[in-house]
Symmetry: C2
Subunit: 80 residues, 2 copies
Amino acid sequence: MKAIVNVSLKAGVLDSQGKAVKHALDSLKFGSVKDVRVGKQIVLELDSKDAASAKEEVAQMCEALLANTVIEEYTIEIIS
Amino acid sequence: MKAIVNVSLKAGVLDSQGKAVKHALDSLKFGSVKDVRVGKQIVLELDSKDAASAKEEVAQMCEALLANTVIEEYTIEIIS
């Protein structure tokens, strides 16, 4: 079973990496770009018995390690 | 128009960040985790006239800046 976790900065939190990418894209003449946000995508290979328990366990991993919930939010997608 | 770019290491390329996360999850007693791969998710806000031209432009951005195509692969999703 596979879990895809997307971790991104909460709206309103300054994304300095995103700003740097936006600036670099401007320098490369990609003028259509209005905003850039950079986050993490974590792909986990799991040995869980069902999707519900996998999602519950991955949520615990996010709270404990994968995301800093003060400034970041996360989404979990389970692919069997 | 919004574009979501997922950049991940190609299969076979050593993912040291993923290995570190796997090790940390083991330490936290999440024993069901078999493998971890860590990538980037870049969300772009675009001012393009249609989805096809947006996807074409984002592919150029990936080749020029967002991904190191020697070791990384990318997927592009356009959300209007």
